[in-house]
Every structure is written in structure tokens, then in C-alpha cells.
């Protein structure tokens, strides 16, 4: 082993108590960072997951109608005219297959589906319930809104003449797989369907209103010919939805909304959560750095005479400096290993304690290998940086003074 490594280790072993103290400090700091990162990441992934389990990342829909001014303002003058907002027709998308394929082909888009939806009623035994009629091509749709985890009863399938309904609607109308259900649209068209599946969409309102039926059936009920009302897309990376929005809009001439547009408050909440967890991490890192620096400064003062002797023996200043920089790196590196283990254990422990009534964790804790690497890297770097001042101080010691007064 080289001189620098040997002496660094030996001095740390000699000052066991200090080494233990500083390691404990780094370990706790790193554990807090890992714990917060894992819990926040798990929490956020879970919230996003739940929110997006019934939503597309990107929704294309027809442009809204707008009234135009009929009177052009004369040169140098102005015309005051009230322009009323107009009622939006139930606009539809024609040529949708072409547009769907075009957007699907964009890099970053995982899958797409066409939706024909509109308001309607479900009636059974003289009871009417207001519902959303949602016509889908099941295979396409299921790639965007995973249905299998939502299945309560029946089977995920949409042959002609079947409908899949939410659990609340099933309860209110006393429906089960195999029951018959009559659906009406606002145009007066009506058709009787067989309930194929009862689903739990995770939200009471959706469970009360959503009815999934074959695309063709929905189109004919709602009085469309071959048009659809929306195109749904799933992005490979859901945080790229906003970037894909502009491209999809340019490509199709349709209006586009990303999931961030549709969940603006959630996005703000997630951002501020991320920001505050980042703040905590930064301040903890500072505290750890100051801890390392102060313990090493004390160690340099205590080891003054040894440093002076080593200098007199012919150790160059750079080698003395390296000893203390290495000590910082060691403390940071070893502390980060212990700290990630402790932090991960704490996070897993929390996920064991915080459980839902059915015994599953309230939210999954996300501990990635990347978190280990980043933490170990940052902690070692912080160790070295914190050791800068003590190391320079050690290297600048005058050997004569150091030996005399050390």
C-alpha cells in the first residue's frame, strides 16, 4: 500500500473515537437523504400512478369553435363589439385513423387509442342513471388505461353487445356480469347491452358514470358516423408528455392536452414536494460537510507533531495534503455505504408500518441502484471537498514549529 493510504488509515485508526464520531455523522446524514429520497419518490410515483391509471398521458381533441368579428376596425379607429362566446358543438374528429397512426409513429409515443364518448343514460327497472358512454377499441384502450387490475367481476372483453361498467353503477342498478342494461343517448337512440365486467376505477364518480362499450356501438348511439371525439396516447416517459404535445398538435391540427394540463394542481403539489425534499437534502449535505471539515481540522491540530516529523523525514507537502483528502473521501465513502443501508432499512421499515387495511403497503418505497451510486458519489465528493481546508492547513504546517509545539 502506498504511503498516503497507509498513513491515512493508521491516523484514523489511532483516532478511533473521532473516526467513529465522524462516521456516525455522515451515516446519519446520508441515511436521512436516502430515506427522504426513497419515500418521496415512492409517494410521488404512487400518486402519479393512481392519477394516471384512468387517464391518457396525451389527449387530442377537436379545436374549439370561436366566433369571429364581422366588422373590421377602420384604420386609426376602433369598433367596440361584444363578441359572445359560443356554445361548443359536440365536435368530432374525422380522418382519425390517419392522425392516430401519425402520432403513434412519433418517437416517445408508446401507444394510442381512439375514443368516441358522449353523455347518456343507463336504465334498468325504471331507474335512470346519467352516465358517460365511452366507446373504445378494447385492445388499444387497455394499453393506455390498464383494465386488468380494475376488474371486480366478469372478464375484460368487449364483444358486440357487451358493456363494462363501474362498480357504483352496478350497485345502484343491481347489475352483475350477465345482467341486461339499456343505454340511451341524448339523441334518443337506445340499445340493450349485456354487462360483461364490473370495474373499480378507483374514484367513486368514475365508478358511477363510466360505461365502456365497443367503439361502433358508441358511435351509433351518439349519432356519429365514423368519427371519434378524442385520441388518447401513452408516452414512453410520462414527463415528456408536455414536449410531445406540441409535436402532436402540429402534426394533426388538433387541440392537445397533456396529463399535466389536466392535473395542474397535482403537478404543482408534486413540484413543491420535490423542491422541499431537495432543500432538506441540500441542507443535510451542508451539515455533513461542515461536520467532516471540523473533525478533520481538529485532527490536523492534534496530529501536528506527527505531520512535522513526516515532513522532516522527507514527505512532500502534497503527500501530507493527500493523506487528509483521502481521509475525507474515506469518511464520505464509508459513511455513504452505511448511510444508504440505514436509510433503506428505515424506508422499508416505514413501508411495513404504513399499510392499508388489506395489509399491502400504503405506498411502495422506491430504492434504485442509481440512488446508491449517486449518494456514494456525492458523499465521497463532499468528503474530499470538506477535507480541502484541513488538508491545506496540514500541508502548510512549518515542520520546525509543528515539531516544537505539536
Amino acid at each position: 500500500m502506498s504511503f498516503v493510504v497507509t498513513v491515512a488509515f493508521r491516523l484514523m485508526r489511532e483516532g478511533r473515537f473521532q473516526t467513529a464520531l465522524i462516521l456516525a455523522g455522515v451515516t446519519i446524514g446520508v441515511a436521512v437523504v436516502v430515506y427522504i429520497t426513497a419515500v418521496v419518490a415512492g409517494l410521488q410515483a404512487n400518486i402519479i400512478d393512481k392519477t394516471l391509471s384512468t387517464q391518457a398521458h396525451l389527449v387530442l381533441k377537436p379545436r374549439e369553435d370561436e366566433n369571429r368579428r364581422l366588422i373590421a376596425p377602420p384604420a386609426g379607429g376602433a369598433v367596440r363589439a361584444e363578441v359572445e362566446k359560443r356554445t361548443q358543438r359536440e365536435n368530432t374528429i374525422d380522418d382519425w385513423q390517419q392522425r392516430l397512426d401519425a402520432v403513434r409513429a412519433l418517437p416517445g409515443i408508446a401507444s394510442g387509442a381512439a375514443i368516441a364518448s358522449g353523455p347518456g343514460f343507463a336504465t334498468r327497472g325504471g331507474i335512470n342513471k346519467s352516465v358517460s358512454l365511452i366507446g373504445v377499441e378494447l385492445d388499444d384502450y387497455a394499453r393506455i388505461v390498464p383494465l386488468a387490475p380494475k376488474l371486480k367481476a366478469g372478464a375484460i372483453a368487449l364483444p358486440t353487445g357487451t358493456v363494462m361498467i363501474g362498480s357504483e353503477l352496478a350497485r345502484e342498478l343491481g347489475l352483475a356480469p350477465g345482467s341486461r342494461l339499456r343505454l340511451l343517448s341524448a339523441t334518443g337512440a337506445a340499445q340493450t347491452f349485456t354487462v360483461g365486467a364490473v370495474l373499480d376505477f378507483g374514484l367513486r364518480d368514475l365508478n358511477r358514470r363510466w360505461t365502456l362499450l365497443p367503439l361502433r356501438a358508441a358511435q351509433s348511439l351518439l349519432g356519429y358516423r365514423l368519427e371519434v371525439t378524442e385520441l388518447y396516447f401513452r408516452a414512453d416517459n410520462l414527463f415528456e408528455a408536455d414536449a410531445l404535445k406540441a409535436r402532436a398538435r402540429a402534426l394533426t391540427g388538433l387541440d392537445a392536452d397533456s396529463w399535466q394540463d389536466n392535473n395542474a394542481q397535482l403537478v404543482v403539489a408534486l413540484r413543491s414536494q420535490s423542491a422541499s425534499s431537495m432543500m432538506i437534502r441540500v441542507f443535510v449535505t451542508f451539515a455533513v460537510a461542515l461536520g467532516i471539515a471540523s473533525v478533520l481540522v481538529v485532527s490536523v491540530v492534534q496530529k501536528q507533531r506527527e505531520i512535522g516529523i513526516l515532513r522532516a523525514m522527507g514527505a512532500p507537502a502534497s503527500r501530507i495534503r493527500a493523506i487528509f483528502l483521502l481521509q475525507g473521501a474515506l469518511v464520505g465513502g464509508v459513511g455513504s455505504l452505511l448511510g444508504t443501508a440505514l436509510g433503506a432499512a428505515m424506508a422499508v421499515g416505514l413501508s411495513r408500518i404504513a399499510i392499508t387495511p388489506d395489509g399491502s403497503p400504503l405506498f411502495p418505497v422506491v430504492i434504485t441502484p442509481g440512488l446508491f451510486y449517486v449518494t456514494a458519489g456525492v458523499a465521497s465528493a463532499v468528503g474530499v471537498l470538506s477535507a480541502f481546508a484541513p488538508a491545506w492547513r496540514a500541508a502548510r504546517l512549518d515542520p520546525v514549529e509543528a515539531i516544537r509545539h505539536g
Partner: protein, 232 residues
């Protein structure tokens, strides 16, 4: 005989700025040759330690010329002085100044280790042979605190020799030992001087020990006294 070290008109002072300037060495001329065993005496405050620090390249002179083994050394930067010190010089301090965290053998290896950054082949054997020479081979693995005062100082002497230096500077090496042990340690330095031809400069207050030295140098008021024999 070849010159090991040459000092010409070396001046050194301290202070400046707020503090008044105090000159400690007022132009020292001194030449030591290969294989010499020289004692350096002088009243306290005469500048012995300062002179030793300058000869040991631990601090630079303010004025004058310093040549070590043929290399001019008075104006070198810290790194160059460190290299020269590591190559040509060995130190024995009054208090052994062994590193407490290292064994006797590791302490002996330290000049080689510190100078090159690693341990060259054969260094360990050389260090063990040196410890053997002073009768401490069986104590090689012990920490300094486990050794007696005389043993500690013998380890320190061996450490000064580890790098095969041309000149060993010893600052009151027996000042902290009882008379009997002091005589033994002094005799050991004489023996090594004869066997290995290493030049020794030994600061000592002990007149009996100084009498055994073939050459005696006296420092009085920051100058080498013209006739050491008269002052001694």
C-alpha cells in the same frame, strides 16, 4: 575528503513587520567532510537549533550560501528542499519523536516511505538489518510506547540512517536519557559513524560526551567561535 555540507556567511533572523527583527545567526561559515563526527556546543540562545534547522533544510537562511553534497540549497522551494532532505539527511531529535501509531520497523521505514510514496524492494530487509545492528530486531513489531527510552532513541537513530543519508543531524539526542544510557547511545553513533562513514553533527551539552568527538564546533552569539578548543 569530500565535503558533505558547506555554509558560507549564513544569516538567519526572525521577526519583521510588527515584531522587532532579531538576528540569530550572524554569518556562519562551516564545512563538514565525509565521515566526520562533529559535536556542536554553545550556550542556550546561541542559535544551535536554528543552525541545525538550516543545515537540515527545515528552514531557509536569509542570506549566505548553503551547499549539500555539491548541490546549492539556500534558495530552493519547499518541494526541492524536501527532496534534498530526504536524500541526504537524517534527523535524531532530543525526544525520540517516533510516530506512536507505527511499529519500530515502520518508523524506521518512514523516511523511505515518505520520500518515495511507496516501499521499494529491499527497504524492509535494510531496515531490519539496521534494527538488528542496534540489537532491536526482536522489538521490530512493537509500538514506541512499548520500548524503553534508550530503545526508543536507538530506533530513532536507525530511522535517521534508513535512507542511507550522507549527514545525520542530532539535536541533543541523549539529553533525555540517564548517564549510562546516554553513553551507550553516543557510543552507538560513534560506531555507526566508523562502520558506515556517515557524517554526524551532534549537539550536546554533555562535556564528557563531547570530549570523545574528534572535532568540536562551538557556536557563540550566532557565530562559530574561532578556536573551539579554547571555548570548550
Amino acid at each position: 575528503m569530500a565535503e558533505v555540507i558547506r555554509l558560507e556567511g549564513v544569516r538567519k533572523g526572525y521577526g519583521g513587520g510588527e515584531a522587532p527583527w532579531v538576528e540569530v545567526l550572524h554569518g556562519v561559515d562551516l564545512v563538514l567532510h565525509e565521515g566526520e563526527f562533529v559535536s556542536l556546543a554553545g550556550p542556550s540562545g546561541s542559535g544551535k537549533s536554528t543552525l541545525l534547522n538550516i543545515m537540515g533544510l527545515l528552514e531557509p537562511p536569509n542570506d549566505g550560501a548553503l551547499t549539500i553534497a555539491g548541490e546549492r540549497a539556500e534558495a530552493l522551494d519547499d518541494d526541492a528542499r524536501t527532496r534534498l532532505r530526504n536524500r541526504y539527511l537524517g534527523f535524531v531529535f532530543q525526544f525520540h519523536h517516533l510516530l506512536p501509531a507505527f511499529s519500530a520497523l515502520e518508523n524506521v521505514l518512514m523516511p523511505v516511505f515518505a520520500g518515495t510514496g511507496r516501499l521499494p524492494a529491499g527497504a524492509r530487509e535494510h531496515a531490519l538489518a539496521l534494527l538488528e545492528r542496534v540489537g532491536l530486531a526482536e522489538h521490530a513489531g512493537k509500538r514506541p510506547v512499548q520500548l524503553s527510552g534508550g530503545q526508543q532513541q536507538r530506533v530513532a537513530i536507525v530511522r535517521a540512517l534508513a535512507n542511507r543519508p550522507r549527514l545525520v543531524l542530532a539535536d541533543e539526542p541523549t539529553g533525555n536519557l540517564d548517564t549510562q544510557t546516554a553513553a551507550e547511545v553516543f557510543a552507538l553513533m560513534h560506531d555507526i559513524n566508523r562502520e558506515q562513514g556517515v557524517t554526524f553533527l551532534v549537539v550536546t551539552h554533555d562535556e564528557r560526551l563531547a570530549q570523545d568527538c574528534p572535532r568540536r564546533v562551538n557556536l557563540v552569539d550566532g557565530r562559530i567561535a574561532p578556536s573551539p578548543a579554547l571555548v570548550g
